[in-house]
Symmetry: C2
């Protein structure tokens, strides 16, 4: 049942329905419009410089993604461009990257570091992410992802030790992030690396996330679930026992259909097994220059329906409630409920499913973040 | 080689490069930006009322499109809503339908009638289409498509006779359209109907278009090519001999990847055969409430790459030059050449292919139609 009227006080949802006698500073009549929670994009790499158009064109001509990464392209080419960019320039282009998401009604946006891979650059990225929030009137959830890939001319083991034992404590202590993510794959980090990072992160009370089973099966989904990760993301190659582990730990499965369709050859994630096991499914844009240069959460959700057979209801919950829980099991955003942050959009659509049926056509008529109009 | 500077006079492209001494009323410096022809969306059904969200949801749950049409849903449900809508309301919602296309830099937009199927309603649709042009500063190319489907409680043969022998001459005489289109399929019209309509239309010097081989093979592609059609559209089930006929007649193959991906089960059109035969390929949005509710030509072009393996160059030519030729072999739009209409966009992108790599991120920094800024 779509919400048609709502009272807001002090930035939070105070009640549903408004008594005629209620006093208010501002009164908006939503008429026949639909009120939906502000959308939550729970997985992006939106702070980066440069593009990867050439690699995209090369992949269209037959190159493969893992090979590009091994040859020093892929993530590392964005690392080089992002390291070079001064703070102001990186902020400017990052604001451009996410502008279409904000225009779509995204009020919470996760942003991972991981295109810096050295102290100064990782901190620059996290500070750019933090600076974006007030400018965009959007909740930015920063995630430290020093364990995105191994930098050039660097050994994996000592690099990961530095990420876990030096960078992570500093990042947490300075308040730049309270979440951590790691990419476990044959082109990235190992299960042992995940254990080392998550052990340290757990001791620091960080929220845990992992890129798992994207390009092949590694067992990282189970391992991350055993650590109580908030989310495991990608999951194209996840097995039934991985799904079972997610269900037992209450971990959210974050699916990234744009990356999957850009890379082309991946199998679908185990949707039916996730459903049967009751694992909450979130959908995110994965916005990044390599595998998901499409700045549209609605497009990601629509793609999850056509590509993988999610239902419209699953897709809508996947970009609101479950996306919020992927970021924080105690999130005070992503749903319309009394006491939640008053992040919402007023949409001139007949029904919520219209957003997925015609994803290029609808933008919120009005968008509110913490009770204030954006 | 992207165009970087250009002189415009009297609404037309006057020269490339600008001599420093040239006098001009308005001088814009495109800096490092890219100048591209205004985009051409050569196949839409953008004038309609209502939506078909329920049918979309039913198809996701297993219903099929042909069955929905036979049961009185599909095209006929939009016909009912469009007949009911007063002119002003139909204009208003049609402007909303195409606003995202215009924002993307589309300066020429084909719009088919065919949701009226009676005299007054077909004329209302064509008049709405005509009214949209000046409001949007966009070239609207109207196409009379009384032969979209057979109205309820009507016999096909006398209906088609009325379309061909009564409506078409009146539409042409009143200047409402100079192009005609017909849907040949088991749920629509026959090869004999195509012959009857095209014979009359040729005598009236109309440009000919046909929806062919979309849901199954009918032979209509060959038949339309033999009549010298400007375009055959859809072509998922076209055979090699159909492709050969297109090549011989110089007919443009208009591919509609959004409809194909929405309907789900169609084979790809015979891309490689079209290439080998030298048939010009255009890409269009097919914007309509049933099978392509996605108002994005860039998305259609990006989908043609990922779904069917078109190259970025083919996709870019497919939404400019070839799309213009699909509408009119003598088009004075769709390319940047001296003497052509000065329809162009100035884009803040490194290269034209960026539009297809990141289709949600780019809109023209400035858009011009007939030399005037929109």
């Amino acid at each position: 049942m779509p919400v048609r009227s709502m009272a807001v006080a002090k930035g939070r949802i105070a009640a549903f329905g408004i008594p005629p006698s209620a006093q208010s500073r501002l009164r908006l009549d939503a008429h026949d419009r639909v009120i939906l929670p502000g959308l939550v994009d729970c997985h992006t790499h939106a702070v980066f410089a440069g593009d990867r158009l050439d690699e995209y064109l090369a992949r269209l001509a037959g190159a493969d993604y893992a090979g590009q990464n091994r040859a020093g392209g892929g993530i590392l080419s964005t690392v080089a461009a992002t390291r070079r960019a001064p703070f102001a320039e990186l902020l400017d282009c990052s604001l451009k990257h996410v502008a279409p998401l904000v225009a779509e009604g995204v009020t919470t946006l996760e942003i991972k570091s991981g295109y810096g891979l050295d102290r100064d650059s990782e901190i620059k990225i996290l500070k750019v992410a933090a600076a974006m929030g007030p400018i965009l009137k959007t909740r930015i959830v920063p995630t430290f992802m020093g364990a995105h890939t191994v930098p050039a001319q660097t050994e994996r083991v000592p690099y990961l030790a530095w990420v876990a034992d030096e960078m992570l404590p500093d990042v947490v202590a300075s308040g730049l992030a309270r979440s951590v993510d790691i990419f476990v794959d044959s082109i990235a980090f190992t299960l042992a690396d995940l254990d080392r990072l998550f052990k340290r992160a757990s001791a620091l009370s960080c929220r845990l996330h992992a890129h798992t089973d994207q390009l092949g099966h590694t067992g990282a989904t189970q391992q991350a679930a055993h650590w109580g990760a908030c989310s495991c993301d990608h999951l194209e190659y996840a097995h039934p026992e991985d799904v079972e582990a997610l269900a037992q730990s209450g971990t959210v499965a974050v699916l990234l259909p744009i990356a999957s369709s850009f890379l082309g050859h991946a199998p679908p994630p185990p949707i039916e097994a996730l459903r049967q096991a009751g694992v909450p499914i979130a959908i995110a844009s994965d916005l990044n220059p390599g595998t998901a240069p499409v700045a549209s959460l609605l497009w990601a959700a629509a793609t999850s329906i056509r590509l993988w057979g999610l239902t419209p209801s699953e897709a809508l919950i996947g970009i609101t409630r479950h996306a919020a829980h992927a970021l924080d099991p105690d999130a005070d955003f992503g749903t319309l409920a009394v006491g939640q942050s008053a992040d919402f959009g007023i949409w001139d659509i007949p029904r919520p499913e219209s957003l997925l049926y015609a994803p290029a056509s609808h933008r919120p008529a009005m968008s509110f973040f913490r009770g204030e109009r954006r």
